[in-house]
Amino acid sequence: MTSGSGMAACCVRFDKVEKTFRDFWGRPHVRAVRGISFTVQAGTIFGLLGPNGSGKSTAMKMMLGLLRPTAGQIAILGQPPDSVAVKARVGYMPEESALYPFLTAEELLNLFGQIFGLSSDERHERVDQLLEMMGLHHARRRRVGEFSKGMMRRLCLAQALINDPELLLLDEPTAGLDPVGCRQVKDILVALAQRGRTVVLSSHLLADVEDVCDWIAILYHGVLCAEGRVNELLEEREQIRVCLPALDPSQREAVLNWLRQQTGVEPVWDHPRKDLETVFLETIRKAPLPSDGASGAAVEERRPVAPFLSRPREPLLP
């Protein structure tokens, strides 16, 4: 199964990958992943879906070289996942924000920038832009240990972007974020994909995946149960929906009668609903700010993507 046409550049390739965890005595204990194969095309947002314990995080850790597959092969950007050269081109946001609590947000991003070999000027520029983009500029000198969970998640995403990665791997990226944070993260992911970056995310929050992903794969008990383009998987080709402005009762009855005569079936009608996220964001936008300033992450619905991430990038291959 492949995401995209056969000729498309492939960022991630799983080939009959299995992962069995063993106990202390080396006996097979848990088969977390059972012979899954898929590829992720460059420039897309690929979602790994599945309930808890379905093997999403295991698959993600194998992509990062933290776990070794028991069988099968994995290629990331055309190379083995544990290669240091590959890691320089990948960004990773873990499910649990394991960040040094005694460092400030600025120090932490600087540290990771240094590990990626960025020059001092470039590092400082990127740190400023990322903190601004994630709404953490006001907390830049605050220790990470004092951050709320949401702020921690934002910082975790910021550190994953410090190297302007070609491939971004996100494990439950919106877990622990408020709706505003979720929206911001999703906007950032879409913007990055539009600029040629590839995103692989794992989540069990179906609405989030539906919102941003081009392609999805559904895992269950370590088996790849379904994979395909989101629109193709969700579309119900047997039905159509027609949207009209509000009609008065007589007009509405006339339209429904016409539809009954033409199709021979009873049409269903209702008022379209706004989604809760839209209503929530509108409410927040209208609410006045407290006079003593905000302690958490700054809430602005739309934030521009950091300029250094805005450069369009050709989907790269090794």
Partner: protein, 422 residues
């Protein structure tokens, strides 16, 4: 190199902000400044100075050894448990680079604290043992503490001296200039120790042409290390063979210590320079312990790593006893017998012999693990004002840091390569 430097900085921050460094420095300050107030000595200025040096240096080294051994498991196994290491390993930095960064940070911390404590220690010593304070004892302290000496061992010499006989030792000496103060150091054993405090004797030292350089009667305590200061020479003596004779007028045979025996000690520099060299030896030891701590952290989970580090520390603490067992081949010291008490020879059972053999093998293994720390111990040499040679430093660097430290680093890397970081 940049990622390694980043890890070094990060580790230094970790140690600083976790208050690890603050607590260590506080303890070291207490040891350097406050410990002298509770120490007891033999009442002489030289004895007091040596007790100070020995106990303070030992305590400083012990605190820093614990610090190095305990920091390692926290920095590797602890960070692995908290998933900080995984976060680092998905970045373009390999485990060996992370290990090296952490080790270098521990090297900076141990080197820095040793330097600060060394300067503080020297200042306290200089103040406490200044000429103004010591008065008439100043010359003695200057000669035997502030002057560092190099040992000249005899080419051949007696191992025991029978009653009313003479022992003879020959030394191949370099040219000795006028005013050069030499020191004779010896230790012997005698049955007289059971009935008397000291035994009498007479020393006779002659230059290569047979001229008498020194003659003195002494009353020395058997079993203790004795130092006899030779008066400065009134004329230069060319290089050649010196003869030292000891006449034993006592009724008991004297048995000279195999290790110390009889040595001549020639001045070879000042105390401060020797303290720097001792500090370097101590630093090499700490670098090895830091590598051991990091290796424990790489090999085991946090509680097991801390347990293993504590076990290693205990092993170092008991290295003297372990060394005694290995050298004598006896697991327990035989009971002392007095004069006419009959000596019971107990023949052990074959099973017990087998168990003892296994235990002795284990002791030998344990001694091999820690003997290097014993061999390059800087404390005794500093306390006895024995010069630490540059050759000793290079051998210590090779043996402790490069060889054993390298093996521990290799073990850590192999453990990390076999490990999954889920």
């Amino acid at each position: 190199m940049r990622p390694v430097l980043a890890i070094v900085r990060l580790t230094l921050w970790t140690l600083l902000r976790s208050r690890f460094l603050a607590v260590t420095l506080l303890l070291l300050f207490g040891v350097t400044v406050l410990l002298p107030f509770v120490l007891q000595d033999d009442g002489t200025a030289v004895g007091r100075a040596r007790v100070w040096i020995q106990y303070q240096f030992h305590s400083v080294l012990l605190i820093l050894s614990i610090a190095m051994l305990v920091a390692g498991p926290g920095l590797v196994a602890g960070e692995r448990e908290r998933r900080y290491l995984q976060q680092m390993l998905v970045k373009p930095v390999s485990f060996p680079a992370i290990w090296l960064g952490k080790w270098l940070a521990l090297a900076i911390v141990s080197g820095g604290t040793l330097s600060v404590v060394g300067v503080l220690f020297l200042a306290v010593m200089r103040l406490s043992f200044s000429t103004d304070r010591l008065g008439p004892h100043a010359a003695d302290v200057n000669d035997r503490v502030w002057t560092v000496r190099r040992a000249i061992r005899p080419e051949r010499g007696s191992q025991w001296v029978s009653p009313n006989e003479e022992g003879e030792w020959c030394f191949s000496m370099p040219a000795v200039p006028t005013g050069h103060p030499l020191l004779l150091r010896t230790r012997f054993f005698s049955a007289a120790v059971l009935t008397r405090w000291t035994v009498p004797g007479e020393w006779d030292i002659r230059s290569p042409d047979g001229t008498l350089l020194f003659r003195q009667r002494t009353d020395l305590r058997p079993g203790a290390i004795q130092e006899i200061a030779l008066p400065p020479l009134d004329r230069p003596v060319p290089a050649g063979r010196w003869t030292v004779r000891y006449r034993n007028p006592d009724a008991d045979t004297l048995l000279f210590d195999e290790e110390i025996g009889l040595t001549l000690w020639s001045p070879a520099g000042g105390f401060a320079a020797n303290l720097v060299r001792a500090g370097l030896l101590a630093w090499f030891r700490l670098l090895l312990l830091a590598a051991a701590g990091l290796a424990m952290g790489s090999l085991f989970s946090p509680p097991v790593a801390v347990f293993m580090a504590s076990f290693l520390l205990a092993l170092i603490g008991f290295s003297g006893q372990i060394g005694w067992v290995v050298k004598t081949g006896q697991l327990v010291e035989p009971p002392h017998t007095h004069g006419d008490e009959p000596v019971h020879v107990h023949r052990p059972s074959p099973a017990r012999i087998r168990v003892e053999r296994i235990l002795l093998g284990m002791y030998r293994l344990l001694y091999r693990a820690v003997s290097v720390l014993h061999d390059y111990d800087p404390v005794e040499r500093t306390a006895e004002s024995t010069r630490i040679e540059v050759g000793n430093l290079t051998r210590g660097w090779w043996q402790m840091v490069l060889l054993r430290g390298g093996v521990l680093a290799g073990l850590s890397v192999i453990a990390a390569a076999c490990r999954e970081w889920g």
